[in-house]
Symmetry: C2
Subunit: 357 residues, 2 copies
């Protein structure tokens, strides 16, 4: 097991990463002071709920199982969680455990953020995406009919328990989508990690546990460093959005659900790399490294069959647009991203075309 | 105008108190960086919305008017606010202004706490209760069918603008209920303020503006001091609940809405004072001072016609009960409250009976 700390003053917390952590009583014990509520979904519950239940046995346990999928990130489901917590007379000393992927983490984390004005919770992510991304940073949210993640809170977990053994049951496509976010952390923040990935990416695809443990740890370290410097997402944290401006447009343009988030980010990173090259910052050989690594992870490097104009239109309406001008996270070099607001539309169009070659 | 600061590190904020502040552009200007959304209710809106609108003119303004009354503190109404904010394309730089009493403050404050994971807001309280109580401390919440204030957040306003001229239109009963909370701050925390109240309470009832300004300022100062020491309500903040354990039971026992919160707290303070006396801490003459001051403010000093056993039963189910034992905020002397968990049921019963004499 490897452990690292996220430094956020009085809200600091540890992240534990390794194989077979789910059932380790000692990882939950420090946070038990009253009853426990475990929130999971209908896919993850049957696989892993029993292990967590045993690890916290002795405490009074309320189990809350929501439907699988993004459609659970809405108020009606949140209210079901509150109903269950209130019926079970859960108080402020209840520990909520979010067991599942990003949807469960966002939903249950937000429930913990606003139930009785905030209770403690643990993130126990069971997808690679959640282990490297949504479990670090304290972002929680539900969707609103008029926008994704529009209603939410920053609420840090007391601890994150990332058991890479749970990735054994993750569908292949989801595993690869998670690897896209790992790769993103490398290209945006750490050239040495990119080199490690270039040497080891096949081990990740093969679910080799030591490789997964290292990749999750390094991703969390990189993200944690950024989050610690910018908890409320004012500046540096935007660098974590490398590939996301294009990626969101791809997700929306293709129709939500047809592309996984990580897949869209992968194709988005190639576009962002091409744009970085057109801006004169990144060399062609470096753009190739972005494309090649993603390919080896089995990720898409070309966007869906959409006119460049359509993607640009979608980016313009993205919530990350500031004062009418789309901002891009571009690479200055491998492992060094920067936020650019001075990008000519013609270059953006050219980058989309170049990425499609 | 008088101003004081609530010291909460990076979340510190000023409270401005005085007559005719509502229309003062300079009090809003420091917080304007984008559009403005004003949330008010159907009673307060027609009286004061125009003044606030003029004070922030120049900014793009979205007006959101909810129904008057406690029943607006629920998810459906919160969602109406989110719909309006999203339709108006309000972003993270939107300033939300809560214009109204405690319900508007709790509801709009909670909306600000979770809209796009938190936006800035100003409290512009227009009832005495809100000016001395709910606008200080950052508590925001909505009700759940299974419990009051069960869903909420701690979200500090950027500033509070308390215009005592708005109290001119406050119904007499609500004014007196607000005075109950002012008196509570005195008895729980400051003997000198009790003496000032004993000399000036009739001026408050007569809505004399200088007296109101002083009473609001001193109440806020006292509450702010406690909140600064205990933002998340772990310990000292409980002292602000003097009279509330009995008060909540009175409110529930009488049926919500038949007693105003402040009225129930008034009768609750007499019970708590009698109990303090039975515990050997407070002298009989001091209990009389509690009763007399409340009487002069036109507040009830006896609870509703309920059996003592019924009140005790209601207190036992109160959420403030910790580990099965009801905790009471009792007076050690005038102006010095303490939390007691070691109170015999027989004494509680005796105190209720004594208060009814």
């Amino acid at each position: 097991m490897e452990s690292l700390g996220v430094a956020l003053g009085s809200r600091s917390y540890p992240i534990h990463i390794g194989a077979d952590l789910l059932g380790r009583t000692d990882l939950y014990a420090p946070y038990l002071s009253g009853s426990v509520a475990i929130v999971t979904n209908a896919v993850v519950g049957p696989l892993y709920l029993e292990k967590v239940r045993k690890a916290v046995q002795g405490a009074r346990i309320t189990e809350i199982v929501v439907a699988d999928g993004e459609q659970s990130k809405r108020w009606e489901v949140l209210n079901e969680i509150f109903d269950a917590l209130l019926r079970a007379r859960c108080g402020r000393d209840t520990l909520l455990i979010a067991l599942g992927g990003g949807v469960v983490g966002d939903l249950a984390g937000f429930a913990a953020a606003i139930y009785q004005r905030g209770i403690d919770f643990l993130q126990v992510p069971t997808t690679l995406l959640a282990q490297v991304d949504s479990s670090v940073g304290g972002k929680t949210a539900i969707n609103h009919p008029l926008g994704k993640n529009m209603i939410g809170a920053f609420h840090q977990p007391r601890a994150v328990i990332s058991d890479v053994a749970t990735l054994d049951t993750l569908p292949d496509r989801e595993l690869r989508a998670g690897i896209a976010e790992v790769i993103k952390h490398g290209f945006a923040l750490d050239a040495a990690f990119v080199e490690w990935l270039e040497a080891n990416v096949e081990k990740l695809v093969a679910r080799q546990r030591d490789a997964l443990t290292y990749a999750v740890r390094r991703s969390c370290e990189l993200k944690a460093r950024v989050v610690a410097a910018d908890e409320r997402e004012a500046g540096e944290r935007a660098l974590l959005n490398f590939g996301h401006t294009f990626g969101h447009a791809i997700e929306t343009g293709a129709g939500y659900g047809s592309w996984l988030h990580g897949e869209a980010v992968a194709a988005g990173m190639v576009m962002a790399a091409e744009l970085s090259s057109l801006m004169g910052d990144l060399r062609k050989t470096e753009v190739s490294r972005v494309r090649e690594l993603l390919k080896r992870a089995g990720l898409p490097v070309k966007g869906p069959a959409l006119a460049p104009e359509r993607l640009m239109e979608l980016m313009a309406t993205d919530k990350k647009a500031a004062k009418g001008r789309t901002r891009f996270v571009l690479l200055q070099s491998i492992g060094r991203a920067a936020l650019r607001g001075d990008v000519d539309d013609a270059l953006v169009r050219q980058a989309i075309v170049a990425a499609a070659q």
